[in-house]
Amino acid sequence: MIPFDYARPSTAKAAIDAVVRDKSARFIAGGSNLVDLMKRGVMTPEKIIDINALPLRGIARTGKTIRIRALTLNSAVAADPVITERLPLLAQALKAGASPQIRNMATVGGNLMQRTRCPYFYDTALPCNKRAPGSGCSALNGYNRMHAIIGFSESCIAVNPSDMNVALAALDATVIVQGPKGERHIPIADFHRLPGNTPQLDTNLQRDELITAVEIPDAPGFATTSLYTKVRDRASYAFALVSVAAALHIENGSIRDARLAMGGIAHKPWRLRRTEDYIRRQQPSIRLFNNAALADLKEARGHGHNNFKLVLAPNTIAQTLRTLAGLA
């Protein structure tokens, strides 16, 4: 690792001031992604601002929302009784991610900022528009089995690797950030970006903004009927080929409401709004789910090695819905 300076401020203001003052400074929380990237020379901050002394831990239910502060560990969120009872989808997604050791280090804010696991992004010897803008995309004509099938561009076909982000997208979370000019609330759908011709930007978070919390609507109707399905190369501790976060509110044999999002297919968690519309106010059936599963994937296209995702993605959506409705 190249040398760098270190600071541990004790207030959010001091932390934000530190990155405003120093353009090459970056926040660090758990470090489970940033330290890895720094070791490989993919990210080379000259100063890291350790935010662990900030009072940003804990989960609270306030009125109609559940607020998770940014430094709360992934393992703590997954085991919290408020989360397991009221947002089991989030607990399932967190437990499907990484390993117990990493979940004990990784924070909610850091998970939102997790960078792609595209091997070309990590390999500093090869072109990558995300790491070195303008150098080209090695994945486009390279080994692209893990890569995006929707929302990609000629600049970048990488996917967001997080499981938590997929659940947050389905649950309509809001990311609360603090910057030099005050607080800002960013809906999860607007937090992560599509690559376009600026794949170096993963999110709409500004360089001088600090994530302080995530807020999730407390929607009890979804609590008992939700499921995170993750398809991967080994039974545990692997990134998703595809994943589906689904919550159904079924009442009197009819789907009153649905929330669906998909991981492993795009540069950001992919909300399946057309599929939701397709099944809303309908009676669950295998035929309905099989048809609905294709609604959001009409524009999907493979790059060779990942063509299997064109079949795996709708099948995973349909299977998740069948399981939730008891039709499996």
Binding site: K39, R40, P100, Q101, A235
Partner: protein, 209 residues
Amino acid sequence: MTPDHIEESGCQHASRRRFLKQSAAAAAIALAPGAVVKAAEKGLDETAAGYFEKAKLQITVNGTSHELSVEPRVTLLDLLRETLHLTGTKKGCDWGQCGACTVHIDGQRALSCLSLAVMQQGKQITTIEGLSTGETLHPMQEAFIRHDGFQCGYCTPGQIMSAVACVREGHAGSATEIREYMSGNICRCGAYPNIVDAIMDVKKTGGTL
């Protein structure tokens, strides 16, 4: 360029980086043969590293408190192995993919290879060396021996640290649960069935770990 020169420039961080880049470039031009360039760059790198501040660190490892001065780029794993000479904790991939470096930080299992030492101020670290009491092995160590839970043994310290945490967390209820909660520890010899047996055995025997 002298250290004084750098401090005078006002913007310390920018000039430190510039110093490194310029010096490395100058060295590359002046000393053509590859090996010489490499050596020179390495030397300059070390010199440049000296300009980055070391940080004070108080850390307790296996019950012993240490007052240290560390470079921010030193990982907890390297601190344990290189500075404190506790080589029981192993460096496998060094990238957070294998679990060989698993230790307990304030009682929770974590990867020491992805933890910066400087960020562990005031923390209690337990390594494999801290599990046994004198010549008496920890019950999990005994169980790994009894069930032949290893072949080459390189992943074993990480497996055992993870296994102790797995039982303490209450995630050793069945073979399936153990496999899920031990998935962060890779064993390329494939001793998995025996590792699961060892953990089940310790769990069944009960007692405090």
